[in-house]
Symmetry: C2
Subunit: 132 residues, 2 copies
DNA sequence: GCTTGACCTTCCAGTAACTGGAAACACTAT
DNA sequence: ATAGTGTTTCCAGTTACTGGAAGGTCAAGC
């Protein structure tokens, strides 16, 4: 399996597949005689795992941790749950921030007539923070 | 007003204030005889404007646009509203993504006993995408 | 006048996680 | 033989800063 087949199977760009091996996130693949990278099912499964974890917003360094646990037959669920719960808390926080951002900006957009006149509550609203 | 006073007034690190002038986002400030940057109220107002816009998630390039409109006495509300509405749509999309991410990860965390046993729904759930 | 310390300057490098592109080699089909 | 596609390495660029080194400036205290 050359890199483009593996990258298609994993759902990642070939560049990214190379990159993940370069930084040691996944093991460097075997090479053909001519130097082509050669992938098997196990490598692809790891790449899928990493892609999924990245989609969940885990950082590369968290992916390293998770991948370690993924490969370790003796890992406890507790370790994994700890990392996932931390990530979940970050997501919840991000959601709250995004919500207040949305509300504030939506308020400004609503207050803006959107016509040709220079008077604009959005610009005014960006100029100074209101209480809250 | 030296840079640290201006940066405090604007609510930005001094490094960032320098950076914004370096990339031409705000005009380069006047200099004292000894080469110190010297800020006035107008520069500070612009910096506050940029800080606020950045807090709203506008990119530097969008800030450039908005700042241009902010400074242009003849700008129409429509221009500003268009940029803000686009940003609002992006925020809404991000919110939806974050929500499904949250739900899926929360589901996995709930399904995990979090004990010492190696059986772990989170790890399993990262390995393959379920329908949905 | 001299020192101390805070503040200022420029410049270079690093961060996260890739992505784009050039130059050159390998493989396949015609 | 040649064309076209796939692959390799390596370097640079992206975004929006941030950290740090080396050195100049200013005000206060002795």
């Amino acid at each position: 399996m050359n890199i483009s087949a593996a990258s298609k199977a994993a759902g990642l760009p070939a560049k990214t597949v190379r990159y993940y091996a370069d930084i040691g996130l996944v093991p460097a693949p075997a090479r053909s005689e001519s130097g082509y990278r050669s992938y098997d099912g196990a490598s692809v499964r790891k790449l899928v795992f990493v892609r999924r974890a990245r989609e969940f917003g885990f950082s590369i360094s968290e992916c390293r941790e998770l991948l370690g646990l993924y490969e370790d037959r003796r890992r406890s669920s507790a370790d994994v749950k700890r990392i996932a719960a931390r990530r979940l808390a970050e997501i919840a926080l991000k959601q709250k921030e995004l919500q207040s951002l949305h509300d504030e900006l939506a308020h400004l957009v609503d207050a803006c007539r959107g016509d040709d006149r220079p008077d604009c509550p959005i610009i005014d609203g960006l100029g100074a923070r209101r209480a809250g």
